[in-house]
């Protein structure tokens, strides 16, 4: 058969293109994920090039490490209990009862999740440190010699972490409560069960998988948190695994410090993987699938005489756990000197002026963080589109692997990702080093946050039936044009959500930056952290307050502009 030469060429070029494309995708995945994490394993299980389990045994043989492991689990258990209790109760009150001011509560109750955790920890210090406002008030009221409440150590860490994580429960339970088939509950009522009985016998058990899933997420999140235990634990020597790893990495005097830190990371990864496993196991039982039909809208439960007390309860919750630390930060930020009473004559805007105009690192950090946040969210979103598209529409080999590789960091705490990046890039590769540059921070951010846009974009791809772009092709569009004209516009909401979901946490990231920053490469998180370490309380408060305002304002704007189509969590 005769084949025109240009057609033959065409074929070869197409093949070449496809091969190059595949190589490129897996090169990116290798640089971002495979290489750093395999370095972590290699370093954790070897010394000076020869494989050994000595690191692990040495780690497990030291009491302080076991104590840190115990602290991690202890804190996580209590954080989970508190966050689940608060999240479930608040969510039920706000979605299913005739509470007053529900629309207001709905927005306000997720605020703690929007504020970066280390900022929360700092804000709580203003309330509960030995010179904090709560303590001062209590000492004044009861004529006490010493401050009655303490923020440093396990209780502080547990409280602040629980406040940071309960919105995760609140949001997922609210979604589940809104989806539950109302006739499940009505059927029980017809069967003779009163309102409380319906909640006990039907609502709670049907919600159990959702509650369990949320609990696992909170538990894993809590074990991988760094900012809160760093600020509230390290000063008093109350260490958890993440802070312990952090200290190991920094202690260059210790022999094999990287090997030991890597070995310790295995413990954290183990907890994360175990959590994922439990979650998969719990949701595997299909028996709990909630079959929903024609939704008639769920019934709202009349709280009756409890309506006012319940509303007051939620208001008090908000005042104590959300408003109080912010107000404390505001007061500190506008006070002239530490320890002055909050009186009009003692107020000033000098702290803001000082922070913004007299500390050069601040503007540098803001520039760096904005640069990183914009670039990282854009790159992750673009990569997500390519990855999801490849996984769904092409036939290249190994496309199923992409999702697994990208999802891996979900079970890996930020501190461990940071360590992996150090191990991967500390020595120049081919005479080329990114260590001590902003690029290593960027790569680490990409690896850590990749999963957010990956999820939203994949979810939007899933909703698009193949026939939509096929119809465009039938209408004469090339495959590329069909993708541009049909597919991309349809996944836009997922793209925006994904971008924003990366931008917000990247802007105030601490865990990775604190491990990877170098002089002149500070981020906002690093700057705030270092300022707290230097005891610049007034200036830190001013900066923290600015961050809180910017973060909340951005969230509010995005909510408004997108008419709630872009979710913040």
């Amino acid at each position: 058969m005769f084949i025109p030469a240009y057609l033959k060429y065409h074929h070869v070029i197409m093949d070449l293109k496809r091969t190059l494309f595949t190589l490129l995708i897996f090169l990116i995945l290798a640089v971002l994920f495979v290489y750093p994490f395999s370095r972590l394993f290699v370093v954790g299980f070897s010394r000076e090039g020869s494989p050994t389990v000595l690191n692990l045994t040495e780690i497990l043989g030291k009491t302080t490490n076991l104590v840190a492991l115990w602290h991690t689990v202890f804190v996580a258990v209590f954080v989970t209990i508190l966050a689940v209790a608060a999240g479930v109760i608040l969510s039920w009150l706000v979605t299913r009862t005739n509470l007053y001011m529900k629309d207001f509560f709905k927005i306000v109750l997720i605020i703690p999740y929007l504020i970066p955790p280390f900022i929360s920890a700092f804000a709580w210090m203003q309330l509960l440190s030995p010179v904090g406002y709560f303590n001062k008030i209590l000492m004044f009221l009861f004529h006490l010699e010493e401050s009655p409440l303490g923020i440093y150590g396990k209780y502080g860490i547990i409280i602040v972490s629980a406040i940071y994580t309960y919105p995760l429960v609140y949001i997922s339970i609210t979604r589940a409560l809104e989806r539950i088939d109302p006739s499940f509950e009505e059927a029980a009522q017809i069967a003779g069960a009163g309102k409380l009985r319906v909640i006990r016998d039907i609502t709670l058990p049907v919600m159990l998988p959702a509650v369990g899933g949320a609990a696992v997420i909170v538990f894993v999140t809590s074990t991988s948190m760094f900012g809160i235990p760093a600020i509230l634990g390290i000063p008093k020597g109350y260490l958890v695994l993440t802070t312990k790893i952090f200290l190991y990495i920094g202690s260059y005097g210790t022999k094999y410090n990287f090997n030991l830190a890597a070995a310790m990371s295995m413990l954290l990864i183990f907890i994360g993987v175990l959590g994922l496993f439990i979650q998969n196991f719990a949701t595997r039982k299909e028996r709990f699938t909630v079959i929903t039909g024609k939704a008639t809208g769920f019934s709202i439960i009349d709280l009756g005489a409890l309506r006012v007390p319940a509303t007051i309860f939620v208001i008090l919750f908000i005042l104590f756990f959300i408003a109080a630390p912010i107000v404390a930060t505001i007061i500190t930020a506008i006070t002239k000197a530490l320890g002055l009473a909050p009186r009009w004559s003692n107020f000033t805007l000098g702290n803001f002026k000082y922070v913004l105009f007299s500390v050069p690192v601040v503007w540098r950090a803001i520039r760096n963080s904005f640069f990183l946040a914009v670039v990282v969210s854009t790159i992750t979103v673009m990569l997500s589109i390519v990855f999801s598209y490849t996984a769904r529409y092409t036939e290249i080999r190994g496309r199923k692997l992409i999702d697994y590789i990208v999802s891996a960091p979900y079970a890996i705490p930020g501190t461990v990702i940071g360590l992996s990046m150090i191990l991967a890039w500390i020595k120049p590769i081919l005479g080329w080093s990114i260590y001590n540059t902003i690029w290593i921070i960027m790569i680490a951010y990409i690896a850590r946050f990749m999963i957010f846009p990956m999820r939203t974009v994949t979810a939007s791809f899933k909703q698009i039936d193949n026939s939509l772009s096929e119809a465009a092709q039938i209408a004469g569009a090339s495959k590329r044009k069909a993708t541009l004209d049909i597919v991309i516009p349809l996944i836009k909401p997922g793209i925006y959500s994904g971008w924003f979901l990366v931008f917000m946490p990247a802007l105030t990231e601490l865990t990775l930056s604190i491990l990877l920053y170098s002089a002149r490469r500070e981020t906002i998180g690093v700057t705030v952290y270092n300022m707290t370490q230097e005891g610049l309380v007034l200036e830190t408060s001013a900066l923290a307050l600015l961050i809180i305002i910017v973060v909340l304002a951005l969230n509010l704007i995005v909510r408004r502009v997108s008419r709630r189509r872009v979710s913040v969590v």
């Binding site: 088939d181 699938t289 079959i291």
Partner: protein
């Protein structure tokens, strides 16, 4: 067992009127059906009877107990009304197995373990789920789930059984089967049934009496044959059975015989006992009451075959009569082709003003 009395009930959702001035007396032990097009307020009325919706106006009695009225004080909540209900989505609880689903109403009433087991076993047998008591809902077919819902509704010997389109989620064959099973079940256990459907053949096959409703209002209440044979108005006639409507001019009335002129095509005589005045009337005739002839006969109208459809055991013809088009359903061997000039006779017509 108890009857249900609905007295002048109006139910509004904000500005939307879902049920309006609705009155009906459902007798003890009756199989009573609420029939009407989608959105006419059937579910809303049922939920008022169940107590999930508060009436805006009017009263509802179950037995001789006032359960709902516009002033909320006498309101009796659903759990105290001694009802059984099968929801459209079945609402079989996913976290309980078949046994526990059915036993739940007894559990709430704290029945002793032995009696509970006995009664559940009787019900399991009644709804033919003997072997499946340990299964979870996701391991059941649609029909089986529906039986669980039914068993759960029956176990407390409810005064009234409320069924909201219980068959609409089943496939055609199973639906047919369940019709008979439901009917037979009622004969065995003597319970008042209020049944909601928008499927007229379902309503005809099962009910003792039917209320035909539209936009929250009652059109007609009666036995299936009353509603079929003596529809009160055009809406009922069009909703029940397959009907044709023709406009006619009333020429004169003599000894109960009306002479009607259909367009310009011809004049027919109709026997009609009711009172008719005015110049225009609407003539309704069922599709199977249209006879077709090749030649002109007494009391026929000239017509032309527009379309013929073969359905295996019968033909459906679309026939032009003057400017209107009617449909005829005939079993005859003789076949007419499209374009044939024919004559039609309209048997048992019903006239509306």
């Amino acid at each position: 067992m108890a009857g249900v009395v609905v007295q002048d009930v109006t139910k509004m959702f904000g500005q939307t009127v879902a049920v309006q001035d609705f009155s009906v007396e459902i007798k003890d032990g009756e199989f009573f059906t609420l029939l009407g097009p989608s959105g006419c307020g059937k579910t809303t009325l049922l939920r008022c009877i169940a107590g999930f919706a508060h009436v805006t106006k009017g009263k509802i009695f179950i037995g001789d107990r006032l359960v709902s009225s516009e002033d909320q004080r006498g309101f009796i909540p659903p759990e105290k009304r001694n009802l059984g209900m099968v929801f459209q989505t079945y609402a079989v609880w996913p976290h309980m197995n078949v046994f526990r689903n059915i036993a739940y109403p007894l559990k709430v009433k704290r029945f002793p373990e032995r009696e509970l087991r006995e009664r559940v076993n009787i019900i399991l047998h009644l709804v033919k789920l003997d072997k499946l008591e340990g299964r979870y809902p996701n391991e059941l077919s649609g029909g089986q789930q529906q039986r669980v819902a039914l068993g759960r509704a029956l176990i407390m010997n409810p005064d009234v059984l409320l069924l909201d389109e219980p068959l609409s989620n089943l496939d055609a064959k199973l639906r047919e089967e369940m019709r008979f099973e439901l009917k037979e079940l009622q004969n065995r256990i003597d319970v008042t049934i209020v049944y909601v459907t928008h499927d007229q053949s379902e309503a005809m096959a099962m009910s003792d009496r039917i209320v035909v409703m539209e936009q929250g209002r009652v059109h007609q209440i009666g036995t299936p044959s009353e509603i079929y044979k003596k529809p009160k108005n055009q809406f009922v006639a069009s909703f029940i059975g397959k009907s044709n409507f023709l406009r006619a001019a009333l020429l004169d009335v003599k000894d109960g015989i009306l002479r009607l002129k259909i367009g310009s095509s011809g004049i027919i005589e109709v026997k009609w006992r009711g009172h008719m005045t005015g110049e225009e009337v609407i003539l309704m005739v069922r599709q199977h009451n249209v006879e077709i002839f090749k030649k002109k006969r007494e009391n026929t109208l000239p017509a032309r075959v527009k379309l013929s459809t073969y359905l295996g055991d019968q033909f459906i013809y679309e026939i032009a009569v003057d400017r209107d088009t009617i449909r005829a359903q005939v079993h005859e061997e003789h076949h007419y082709s499209e374009g044939d000039e024919v004559y039609v006779r309209l048997r048992n017509p019903i006239l509306f003003q």
